[in-house]
Symmetry: C2
Subunit: 491 residues, 2 copies
């Protein structure tokens, strides 16, 4: 092994060859509806198609490119016009550009010393996010995703109520409860486990059939907890639930929280991008009264994964006091520059990936109005899709409410239509979506999710999602119905 | 705002122009020692030099490239041969290639459905990491960094001892203690806060002057905790402490843990890469007896940030049982493929960035022997540097032990040499490193860290770090002494 040769490898144009390969394979460039969304193989078969091995073998650039190309070819095209499977889809090309720059800069978002421009970039993006949320004068931080952002919310709420928790832990506190809707994301549950509250501390508040939290049920739940000697430490309201896309009534919930003196956190990971549109941000009225919020630009807006912001309305160094450990090797106070720019001690992490630059570049490229247009178009496309589902034979909406871009619906094959809708019938309907999904995946024509909502007594239905990237065309919306019908009549 | 125009933007060669810009600015391609490591400006001034604004303005591709170029130019060159400031430095170019592919694929590491190849890639890399650690048959997951990986360790240890913590929380448990050396990383403290143990639950175990944990002190600390009615839930041993780079004596610590029946977690975030070298992995003998471990390939090995692996020796689904929430919308059990490949429920996160592909590509490119060579060269370079420091006038080693690539030393300017080394003298020495550092930064010639170790009674000293990328040359090592001496005589 020659060290000089090893040191030289990979520097002369390899990155450019990788960029060219990605373009050839259609993973950069304009989305093309003419290729399959996925070329599915079962895991065992796929293992044979990829050159996965790691060991003594050394791959030259040709072999590496071939191995990378195989991985790429057998990846799902999340940027495809027919990918509607998750709460994210294509990455905004300006976001990808920001991500590539980030990777080349390879630094950590903790001190001005090693990330001078990037600390300013993060600061700028956070200031804009705070302004959108109505949290001017507040504070924020990029985190590795929505679940972690929501954990930041619980940690901040707990610390604000019981600062001794930082040193003394949960055993020094009364029993705590966190309130969240029964349609909210499971990160509350996972967070409650990790943070030592226990999942039983998560009180599920009832929602209406539209998936929105019922404020009266919340008021009762808080009162019930108090009666049981449990301290209500946080209410989590959701802007865009995972399945139905419901937006909880923030104003009414903020009233309940104020009345009860409880921290209000808003999980706007999915729906937070609506803030960018003057037309849609009205649905989030009341957010400015919340104490904290999470927003994932990597979802609806199309920032590359990961891009999540946690925000607190409270300035005054709360986030820093809550999380700081004041490590002397990293956050030296005798540096010669203004160390208030060393914001890394607000984080529970030490090294922290730079996630702000990609969003900054997207925002610069498109401006406020460009981002608003993309969000509004996503909402309009979802409305169009919903109206098509409403009118189409064999399709049935789960709820008619549309708060985000989710549309949930069953497909009822002709053989099941017009029958008595008893439990046996619903058990048959439950098998339809998985069966259609299997055919769609094997066909590679369309990816759309399905799930049940057991606590609502709802069996498997499709969840169609529209995001900002690529901007949806009507023919792509129509295609979803057409494909589901085609396979639905064959299952 | 024209939607079609907006949809088209950024797709036609913009990424390639960004790639070209990065090469022109020297952020890709072979490292060049002839440019400054940083062009430092204070935050206020830097704000003027960058076009940070986000708002109504729309930037065309030229303007975007210019804005991005300004960010890049005023970034620290972590890939520069004279960057020794952190426990990471240059990104391996094959790693950057893997990162660029990852960004273009834009998916989430949670289900085989949306990340088929990438689930197999992550699995492969984790299997290799487990084998290196001696954890064959165990389990693992990529996390957003070392602090989170270490939190996974505490969570797993706590769950193994008290599975009811998941539902009932910390109040249902006896008081817990976590043991870690007084030289260990602050993530233990931050983790103890977040996870509800409280920072007082972190028992700091004494280290010798070389920074290695004293096993007898650990045994006494565990016994003391038990006497006080506190349950010792985890011992954290460190392979490569943050400042001195010490490797705790894993064998002796494993003996103590076995004897006491306590979970042993090894924070090998920094030193874990030594496992790749047959020559150096002997220092980690005993790791195979640990219950869990963290390793950050983004540190010594040069994987782009973020790249961190958490591993448990225990298979049998522990990681899954501990962390799963079984969300019905994501981890459907009625899918048509083998859902044991949907490994995302092992994670505390939901959406999870793909961090495995970059390491996989590096490993394929270099093979086991290539990675070993790079690690061994880093260790040899550190030894060379240490021997130069040992012999050079005015330089004084903090400790002569070398477990990792850290070298900690004071520079004593001529005016302070030969004096009585009383407290006043040390207070003068304490000012030397920050003053030299300021000059180095303003000069842009060299970045090297400094810090005190107050619990050891040590005032500010330099911490020189060598990593695998770029492979260090002797002249770069010599340059560090030369620059510190040059500025040290002027302060």
């Amino acid at each position: 092994m020659d060290l000089d040769r090893e040191a030289a490898r990979g520097h002369d144009g390899f990155l450019e060859r990788v960029a060219a390969m990605l373009r050839e394979e259609g993973f950069t460039g304009r989305p093309d509806a003419g290729v399959p969304v996925v070329r599915f193989h079962h895991p065992d078969k796929l293992q044979e198609l990829l050159q996965l091995d790691l060991g003594p073998a050394v791959a030259d650039e040709e072999a590496l490119l071939a191995a990378a190309r195989a991985v790429v070819r057998h990846s799902v095209r999340t940027g495809h016009p027919h990918f509607h499977n998750q709460l994210f889809a294509a990455a905004d090309p300006f976001g990808v550009a920001g991500a590539w720059i980030t990777e080349a800069l390879n630094t950590s978002q903790y001190t001005f010393e090693v990330a001078p421009s990037l600390m300013l970039v993060e600061h700028k993006v956070i200031q804009r996010a705070l302004a959108l949320a109505g949290f001017d004068g507040g504070d924020g931080i990029f985190t590795p995703g929505g679940s972690v952002s929501n954990m930041y919310g619980i940690v901040a709420a707990r610390y604000q109520a019981f600062p001794q928790v930082k040193t003394e832990g949960m055993r020094a506190l009364p029993p705590l409860a966190v309130f969240t809707s029964d349609d909210s994301h499971y990160s509350m549950t996972k967070g409650a486990h990790w943070l030592g509250l226990g999942t039983n501390a998560v009180v599920k508040v009832a929602t209406g059939p539209d998936g929105r939290m019922l404020p009266d049920a919340l008021r009762d739940a808080i009162a019930g907890a108090r009666l049981a000697g449990v301290h209500p430490v946080m209410v989590n309201a959701t802007v865009g639930t995972t399945v139905l896309g419901a937006v909880d009534p923030l104003g009414a919930i903020a009233d309940v929280c104020e009345e009860a003196g409880v921290w209000l956190h808003v999980d706007a990971c999915w729906g937070g991008s609506l803030l960018l549109s003057a037309k849609h941000r009205g649905a989030l009225l009341g957010l400015a009264r919340a104490d904290s919020a999470s927003w994932n630009p990597h979802k609806m807006l199309g920032a590359p994964l990961q891009c999540s912001v946690f925000m607190v309305r409270h300035g005054g160094g709360l986030l820093h006091r809550c999380n700081a450990a004041a490590a002397a090797y990293l956050f030296q106070q005798d540096k010669f520059y203004d160390v208030s720019w060393d914001t890394g001690d607000k984080s529970v992490q030490c090294g922290r990936k730079v996630d702000a630059l990609k969003l900054w570049l997207m925002w610069k490229a498109r401006g406020d109005a460009g981002l608003a247009t993309l969000v509004e178009h996503a909402m309009e496309s979802a409305s169009y899709f919903r109206s098509r589902v409403r009118d189409a034979e064999g399709f049935r909406l789960v709820t008619d409410a549309q708060d985000c871009t989710n549309t949930c619906f069953w497909y009822i094959p002709a053989r099941l239509r017009g029958r008595t809708e008893d439990e046996a019938w619903w058990q048959e309907v439950a098998k339809v979506a998985p069966a259609i999904k299997e055919r769609l995946v094997l066909d590679g024509s369309l990816l759309v999710g399905y799930c049940p909502l057991p606590h609502k007594g709802l069996v498997n239905f499709f969840r169609m999602v529209v995001t900002c990237q690529p901007p949806a065309r009507r023919q792509d919306m129509d295609f979803v119905l057409q494909e589901i019908r085609r396979h639905g009549e064959a299952v």
